[in-house]
Chain length 674, copies 2
């Protein structure tokens, strides 16, 4: 699709626009267009994406297009003005309702990683913008909980006079509730925003204190959130079967068949990525993940009820969905749950990701709830051959973009100071040149020196550092292409690295290789493989404090379950077609960070002539050089050196032809045999 | 204590014995002595153990001792005559009570590995003698479930016309119940024999079928079990603090302190090994584990209520227990739970090992149940320095016994055919020579050729094979010494091994070494280490189907939690002082089995000069040669060869001086450097 010119000239007024709309036909009003534009603005629509024009007036003439662009430029995007006293406003509302407190999670109704602006309740109330947290407001005291990643950030963003800041595992909310809730107090929560287990823990703690936990039909915070953004209206498009590899009807039939075999009547789908996968559609409601926020019910007769704002549907989507998929507004979801109850249906619910509200409404209505995994999760994780071909192609192009960036770096550094944001902007620009590029797959982590040691670092104009000699530069980035999602980390020596840096990098590399070359019997979980990536660090009394690998979607979430490579228990067996990251690291606080990340896909292993077990292994997807300046050759075994040299030959062969002459020369040197 | 002479001459009659008892004083009657002897007979008292005499008449004169020995010889030990129709008898009893079925587990009230004769309900009903299983009897159909270890054995032992035999995970009881239970049927179970989770699953399945699950106060099987053995009366002795390393009062204070910190009033103890550890006592109620079957309640004021048959207590035990421990009969346990309820006490219960009956009685009585781990489990697992010194000493002597056996083997084989039972009897005899030997720690696995491939093999006169050239001999054995529990497996080549056998053995050895030499940060679990032991097999397309390591007690259970090295998730961090086995294997069905097992203890690791993390490692306890005839030298790395040579130097240095000259010559050769 490529970047588009932006609007020229100003907005000529509602009358002019209405006349142009009337001339176009379709019955649009300026008021409806304004509402739609506010929703689009609240979504995560890439600046290169002109699809919003088709949501309003498909095939509009240039005059109408120009006027619509002009109108869009006038829509206020200012979110800065937070209500002066959200906490006081909320407390007043609680008092009005006779409540002694209220629980505010970071999650929205979908329990996903990214939350749209209209559901950023925790940020509105407290100012905290991290990706995980929880606040509890009582009449006289309030607290906010975060994990170890955010202990510094929360103190910078939150009014410490208003909120006690606590660590989520060291001082869990349950303990706090048990001692702070006055006997007789009624503490409210919004059951749409919590899973059952969490509610149970809150209830137990509050009842221990002699209080009561009350599920609220309407959220008191929403009632006082005066400047709340509208729900996002990111355009929903068909995900072509040429990329999806399997038609939506076939997927519906397969999953419905699985329900029938389990003697289940229907499955409630509350994870938007499951719905996107099942129906072969993609959206733009949240940043970096092409999700259409929506709910669904899949029936064993292969029909689907899709609950989504129909204004988001691009031309052709309804036809693509077909007669077996009925579209209804999100508000109608509750009534659908009631219908399942009235029919005494046996309903599969993933209680780990569907809210207590869903469970409660089904049960109250008379449905028989069967708790189990989201039936789309495992089929979605096991990519089909077309999806795998797509991701291989995407990785070839993405590797070229990253390699061009790596080749550009020393030339740019020779010209003067280079800071983190300019570097990541340049990398993004290389990626954007690809026709199938749609978005980054997450905000790039571009960290020089000590910033590289902050695992979830995000450069800002005040935090960014120049890339200086003797330092390491860590860049973790990825993109959403129509044919695949990428995620790659490289650590690059600026100037001459120290012996310690080389030792640590080489240990991380040994762990990376040990995992990449693992051969394991069918049935093995990611948890079983995690230690392979850590042992070379353990041998030196070192470790890293994050998971070793996460699942990755196909033009979908860059963090996808159910598989995971982690020291935490995960009971999901790795299966052919699953995409995972292999990303051990090492971090020396205040000094430098190291991470080496490739994506890999689980494959059948055929390297042993007559195996007694069905064996699996990994195929490497990511193709970009690993900085040899950081490799301590003698710390590698002969097998590890052979692996590194063979990987670099493959990088050179596949990436080289996509580069210009200077970059190709750089790559030849960067991938020399050691 | 050593072996004792057995009774000479016959029993001279009750009048004579009563006169002798009267002369001795103490008020014993012949009737009470007979009952006691039946209980002792139902316990697991080693034939060398004369302690039973002290239970009846401490310090008895020779005439009384002689008469008591004679009486004991007359007590019937015949258990062969099973009721002709246990199933029919049970069904009649169920009909009489208006029940449509009954569930018969293998577990007793303590949910332990070993079950006394009086609780072998599953064996009485079905004939099945394996260590895990479950039967369900309905009006017209019945079934028995076992796991993969017992699919052959169950078909040999059970009347297949009466019982359908099913695999516990492939065809779980819940599915069977859901389809076989008639609507309206009342299915009974004994809540003392099941944990809560299991009951929940049964209830759900039965209610799905329209039936009802009924907890029964008295067990209908026990009502028709006419020849049921009495409860075991194994003598209970003080476990000297010289071995225990910490006084019972100090342990009570520590655990009660932990309860107080958690604001818990009392903990219910239903695991006899926890009670044995807490009170520094040992018993003889079940084979191979010196457990006193009993229940306990530990209060936060450091007092203990101990529910045990007082006839088991050897002289001095009551004094040892002291005033803080009250002794009451097992029947009084229920009333104690009621008292906790009446006092609204907050009670800690390990719901994974305490029965539904305990939970139900506490809750019904008004107690607040806090579900959590048995508070003795973790402190018991982390051995104190005295216990560690004891186990090191026990392993030095046990290694000498095993080495003498290994040296004896080739000499004995030179004299003619040697079969599995003679071999294991000889090994047991070597161990029995030790003054601190009390029992084997489990029935020895002595498997030649194909029998070695059966992981839970137990030789019988019909199954045993001779140790033949070209075959491997696998011997997995251990003992209970007063100062420690041992468990060791060696695989020995008889004659010349094949190249394949050497390859497989060496891969198992590589895995064994990888685990033994692991260095890992504090917080690491056994599950995280499991893969280290498997990878050399995986590399060749091979694996083994059992756990890699289990916890081991201190003169207590040879299988002890909560830690475990397994591919199954276990969230218990390894801590210094924990004893574990390191026992990877390889099994080729119908041909041979390989396993190499040492016990190790978790220690602080000091091999890295300046570690960033607190690092742990393993100290090896077991000392016995590893058969070099099976080692393929070139498959080992230089580091692995160095490990093997250093281990053998240590074996030679520690074990050599305990051997006679011929055995020492054999050991020198067996531990040569490679």
């Amino acid at each position: 699709m490529g970047p588009q010119d932006q609007a020229q000239g100003g907005y000529r007024g509602d009358a002019t626009l209405q006349a142009l709309l009337d001339g176009h036909g379709g019955g649009q009003t300026v008021a409806a267009v304004r509402a739609l534009l506010r929703g689009i603005d609240a979504a995560s629509v890439d600046r290169s994406d002109d699809g919003w024009l088709d949501l309003i007036a498909p095939g509009a003439a240039p005059a109408l297009v120009s006027e619509l662009r002009a109108l869009r430029a006038t829509v206020a995007t200012d979110r800065a003005a937070r209500a002066a006293q959200p906490l006081a406003a909320l407390r007043a509302e609680l008092a009005r309702r006779g409540l002694g407190g209220f629980i505010v999670p970071r999650a929205d109704e979908h329990q996903g990683e990214y939350v749209p602006a209209c559901a950023q309740r925790l940020a509105w109330l407290t100012g905290f913008t991290g990706s995980a947290g929880l606040a509890i407001v009582l009449t006289d005291v309030s607290a906010i909980w975060v994990d170890g990643r955010y202990t510094l950030q929360v103190r910078a963003e939150v009014d410490l006079g208003a909120f006690e800041t606590l660590h989520i595992t060291d001082n869990p909310p349950g303990d706090w509730l048990a001692t702070r809730v006055p006997a007789g107090a009624r503490i409210g929560f919004d059951p749409r925003l919590h899973v059952d287990d969490q509610v149970l823990r809150f209830r137990r703690a509050i009842e221990r204190a002699g209080g009561a936990l009350i599920a609220l039909d309407d959220n008191p915070l929403d009632a006082v959130w005066s400047d709340r953004p509208p729900g996002p209206l990111g355009p929903v498009r068909v995900h072509d079967v040429a990329f999806a590899g399997k038609g939506a009807a076939e997927k519906r039939a397969e999953i419905a068949g699985a329900l029938a075999r389990e003697d289940v009547g229907a499955a409630v789908l509350t994870a938007p990525d499951s719905i996107a996968w099942l129906l072969n559609i993609r959206g733009a409601d949240v940043p970096h993940t092409p999700l259409p926020l929506s709910f669904g019910v899949l029936h064993r007769d292969e029909t689907v009820e899709l609950f989504i704002d129909a204004r988001k549907l691009m031309p052709g989507v309804r036809e693509h969905l077909g007669n077996a998929v009925t579209v209804a507004p999100p508000d109608a979801f509750g009534a659908a749950l009631d219908r399942l109850g009235a029919a005494k249906t046996k309903v599969l619910v993933d209680a780990g990701q569907s809210s207590a509200w869903v469970l409660g409404r089904l049960t109250a209505g008379g449905a028989e709830v069967v708790r189990g995994a989201d039936p789309c999760a495992l089929p979605k994780a096991c990519k089909n051959p077309i999806e795998l071909d797509g991701t291989r192609a995407a990785h070839r192009r993405d590797g070229a973009a990253l390699t061009r960036f790596m080749a550009w770096l020393p030339r740019r550094l020779a010209q003067g100071e280079l800071k983190e944001i300019e570097a990541s902007d340049r990398l993004e620009a290389f990626r954007r040149e690809d026709a199938r590029f749609r978005d980054l797959s997450f905000p790039t982590i571009s960290g020089a020196g000590p910033n590289g040691a902050i695992v979830h670092y995000r450069a800002s104009p005040t935090s960014e550092r120049p890339l200086q000699p003797g330092q390491l530069y860590l860049v973790d980035s990825g993109a959403q292409y129509l044919d695949g999602t990428t995620d790659v980390t490289r650590t690059i020596a600026i100037g001459q690295p120290s012996a310690e840096q080389r030792d640590r990098f080489t240990r991380v590399l040994k762990g990376h290789i040990a995992l990449a070359t693992a051969r394991f019997p069918a049935g093995t979980t990611g948890s079983q493989l995690d230690t392979l990536a850590r042992r070379p660090l353990w041998d030196a009394g070192l470790d890293f404090d994050h998971g070793t690998g996460h699942g990755v979607g196909s033009y979908l979430s860059v963090h996808e379950g159910p598989q995971r490579i982690s020291k935490l228990p995960n009971t999901i067996a790795l299966k052919p077609g699953m995409i995972l990251s292999d990303e051990p690291g090492y971090y020396r606080t205040g000094a430098y960070g190291i991470r080496i990340e490739n994506l890999v896909v689980v494959t059948s292993d055929a390297t042993v002539a007559a195996p007694e077990r069905e064996m699996l292994g990994f195929e490497i997807l990511t193709l970009a050089p690993i900085d040899l300046a950081l490799v301590e050759r003698d710390l590698l075994s002969a097998e590890e050196r052979a692996w590194l040299n063979a990987y670099h030959v493959r990088v050179r062969d596949v990436i080289g032809p996509q580069l210009d002459v200077p970059a190709r020369g750089w790559l030849d040197e960067a991938t020399r045999a050691i």
